[in-house]
């Protein structure tokens, strides 16, 4: 009987089963490593107030072992719910989210024993670190949903960062920097589009080479111009955060989402536009058509390569704008290779999120949060060496890609050049 049941599982169900098993393993691990083995049991303080927003509750103090135990039990309860959902052949997304949160809190209660965790600040910083990832992942969505693989996100971000930093410095205006960034990203995308769509070159290789090219160019110009002539070429201003009235006063949510720079607000708009546009507009329908079945798209009169070309350029512009975050959005001057592999993490977020805008955004937020958590914990000090904390997001990605996501399906025509009139 059991045999028959196993055989009749569909692919998503097998994936869910693997998910439930992974979560169960992690939950038991949490119980073992955060509750049973540790000796220390000092108080953990979670702070919820940043600045001058309205206060719902100020802080929450809990002994570390009780906290870990409580959240580990909650996590295991979520696993049980997930299992029941799986048996009922329903999605386990909600239970997984609860599990993720509880597991994390269980870990935090253990890791921050005797310490103070600025909870709101943790989330705020996490959102900030996720900004370039979200922009990069959106560029990936636009490109790959149209059928062109975009490994060059890193290069597009870096080009945007460089152009906005330099132009903002030369003109001493953040506005100019913000305006030029999308053009820089689009320029890299233009190369990607010309070579991939017109010449039909392998897109993974092409994207990779474009990254090397942008890294080489920006490093070269950085050493040649930006360092020796720093005062004119590389001392750009920084965008000031804009507080949105009322919304920024909301407890916890306010400081996280509504006390940010224009780059973050533009991000909200772009994500919303891409999500709605992709599934509800003619533009999005055409994009998905040329990405999934270009021959069918052509048969109803769509110019496949033109649609791809435009979307690839647009993707570059989005990533370029995200690149501005590194310079005028955060520190001002440009730094050598300052994107530091964020483009590749954005790519991982895209795949993690299964090529859907909201999925990619969620993945980007998780990565950003993990990155910031690592930073916060390495300052407060934890029982684990900071290098292992730094590894965590990458290991999590591997676990997720192999455990939860499994054999991912990209858009069917992703990466395949299209020649009009040929049958595919």
């Amino acid at each position: 009987m059991a045999q028959v049941e196993v055989l009749s599982l569909s692919a998503p169900e097998r994936r869910r089963r693997r998910g439930v098993l992974t979560m169960f393993g992690l939950g038991v691990g949490a119980l073992l490593f955060f509750v049973i083995i540790p000796k220390q049991n000092e108080k953990v303080t979670f702070g919820f107030v940043m600045d001058r927003e309205w206060v719902a509750f100020r802080e929450w103090v809990v002994p570390s072992r009780s906290g870990s135990l409580g959240f580990a039990i909650l996590a295991l309860a979520a696993v049980l719910v997930a299992y029941l959902q799986f048996r009922a052949r329903k999605t386990i997304r909600f239970a997984s989210a609860i599990f993720g949160f509880s597991f994390l809190m269980s870990f935090l209660s253990w890791a921050a024993s005797g310490k103070f965790i600025p909870f709101t600040g943790l989330l705020q910083g996490g959102l900030l670190l996720a900004v370039p990832l979200v922009y990069g992942a959106m560029a990936g969505v636009l490109c790959e949903r149209s059928g062109v693989i975009n490994i060059a996100i890193e290069g597009q971000l870096l080009a945007g960062a460089f152009a906005s930093g330099v132009l903002a410095s030369l003109t001493q205006s953040t506005g100019v920097g913000l305006l030029i960034a999308p053009f820089a990203g689009a320029l890299i995308s233009y190369l990607l589009a010309v070579f991939a769509i017109r010449f039909g070159i392998d897109q993974v290789i092409l994207g990779f080479v474009l990254n090397v090219l942008v890294i080489g160019l920006t490093n070269f110009l950085y050493k040649r111009l930006l360092i020796p002539y720093q005062s004119t070429w590389n001392s750009g201003p920084i965008l000031a955060p804009i507080k949105i009235p009322i919304l920024s006063k909301l407890p916890i949510i306010g400081p996280i989402f509504f006390e940010q720079t224009i780059i973050v607000y533009l991000m909200y708009v772009i994500v919303a536009l891409i999500h709605v546009g992709l599934f509800r507009s003619k533009w999005g329908l055409r994009m998905r058509a040329v990405g999934e079945h270009p021959t069918a798209a052509e048969s109803v009169g769509i110019n496949v390569n033109r649609v791809r070309f435009r979307n690839v350029i647009l993707a570059g512009a989005v990533a370029g704008l995200g690149g501005a975050y590194f310079t005028i959005g955060a520190v001002g001057p440009f730094g050598k290779e300052m994107t530091a592999g964020k483009g590749f993490i954005a790519l991982a977020a895209l795949i993690f999120g299964r090529w859907s805008p909201l999925g990619a955004v969620s993945a980007a937020l998780i990565f950003g949060f993990a990155d910031n958590l690592q930073g916060v914990l390495s300052i407060t000090g934890t029982p684990i060496p900071s290098e292992f904390m730094l590894m965590a997001p990458y290991i999590a990605t591997i676990i997720a890609v192999s455990g939860f996501v499994g054999r991912v399906r990209a858009p069917a025509a992703d990466g395949i050049p299209y020649r009009p009139g040929e049958s595919h």
């Binding site: 070579f195 290789i205 080479v209 090397v212 890609v401 069917a412 992703d414």
Partner: protein, 389 residues
């Protein structure tokens, strides 16, 4: 004879033209980013002259740093070849990591993880190199084998994961590169890896018995590593073209579905390919540590992962091509240092040249159009499979 020359010319033509096009474009970059040149923009003739002079000086330094430096040729003519030894020292690990990427390409896998595998090879070689007490000869071999095993496991894990769960190797290898870098950082902060009297992240030096012997006396750094690399290239050529496993690798690379129908176990091949690829990159790490660096540092990985991919692409994923590509890029690396020191042209220009060469080779239509050529062996000969492959 004539036909052979013609054939050789056809094979060489595209990489050659691509290389010179890349040098030309990079020359423009050197000239137009030079403030002294830009000041002369008013008078076109002087401007052109200065531009040519700037690019010329940089490329002369590049040559002097990679092949022959007349300034070193006193009192003996052959002393001027010191830079060539440096080129070979840089080329050896590049050949090995390039082979790692090339082998994976042949089986339809894109190994972005040579970086991490290289790091694990370097760790393995370093540990045995400074820790073990073994006789001359055996010590080196033990260090090299450890490096290959460490890196082989690290790479094979990716293949296994892909075979078992379908996790895409591009994502997994990118992530594992970061994991390896941070692991190395952590390792260098632990007591056994701290050098006596030093606080910075540098491991104790490899013992004399664990080092690869120099080939041409103590003054030239060129060592047995280059022969190990050439032997590995021959081995990979044999593996791919003459062995059953190589046939399986290529069959899976050409058409995984057909290979499966023919009775080849695709999961097993995927794991084996990545294991071999990892071991090759690890061998590269061993050659770097035991041949020229003699100590593990935080920057041991360098940019070998990135460079390996450009090397494999330029070499069209073919072992012989990879050797020549690695020699070229090894020369650029060695020469780039001299260029940076003598003419204040940043060494990062080498990255630009590398990227442009591969771009021009990948886009044969472009080179053909520029040089009005019809008969050329074109393309990188490499096709990755996208996400769904």
């Amino acid at each position: 004879m004539g036909r052979m020359i013609k054939r050789a010319l056809r094979v060489i033509a595209l990489p050659g033209l691509a290389f010179f096009s890349a040098l030309f474009v990079s020359g423009l970059l050197i000239a137009f980013s030079d403030p002294k040149v830009l000041k002369l923009a008013g008078s076109p003739l002087k401007f052109l002259g200065a531009a040519f002079a700037a690019a010329g000086r940089a490329y002369l330094a590049l040559f002097e740093g990679s092949i022959y430096d007349p300034n070193l040729a006193r009192p003996y003519f052959f002393d001027g070849f010191y830079p060539l030894s440096e080129t070979l020292v840089s080329a050896a690990p590049l050949i090995l990591t390039g082979l790692s990427v090339a082998l994976a390409f042949k089986a339809g896998l894109f190994n972005i993880g040579a970086q991490g595998q290289f790091i694990f090879g370097a760790i393995g070689a370093s540990v045995v190199g400074f820790k073990a007490d073994l006789p001359v000869g055996i010590h080196v071999v033990a260090a090299i084998l450890t490096a290959m095993i460490f890196a082989g496991i690290w790479g094979g894990f990716v293949g296994l994961l892909k075979a078992k769960t379908g996790a895409h190797e591009v994502i997994v290898t990118i992530m594992l590169n970061y994991v390896a870098s941070y692991f190395l950082l952590w390792l260098l902060s632990t007591t056994p890896f701290l050098r006596k009297g030093r606080q910075d992240p540098i491991a104790p030096p490899v013992k004399e018995t664990g080092r690869l012997p120099h080939l041409l006396g103590p003054n030239l750094r060129v060592n047995v590593g280059i022969f190990i690399a050439l032997a590995a290239a021959a081995g990979v050529w044999w593996l791919l073209n003459r062995s059953t496993w190589g046939f399986r690798f290529r069959a899976v690379g050409a058409n995984a579905a057909a290979a499966k129908t023919a009775g080849i176990s695709v999961p097993l091949v995927t794991t084996m390919v990545m294991l071999f690829a990892g071991a090759l990159a690890g061998l590269g790490g061993a050659v770097q540590i035991l041949g020229s660096e003699y100590a593990l540092t935080a920057g041991a990985g360098g940019s070998f992962g990135f460079d390996a991919i450009t090397v494999a692409l330029l070499g069209r994923a073919n072992p012989i091509g990879t050797v020549f590509a690695a020699l070229l890029f090894g020369g650029l690396r060695a020469g780039g240092l001299t260029m940076q020191a003598n003419t204040e042209t940043p060494i990062d220009l080498v990255l630009v040249i590398q990227a442009l060469v591969v771009l021009f080779i990948a886009a044969p239509a472009l080179v053909k159009a520029v040089f009005r050529l019809k008969q050329l062996q074109t393309g990188t000969g490499v096709v990755s499979k996208g996400w769904n492959g």
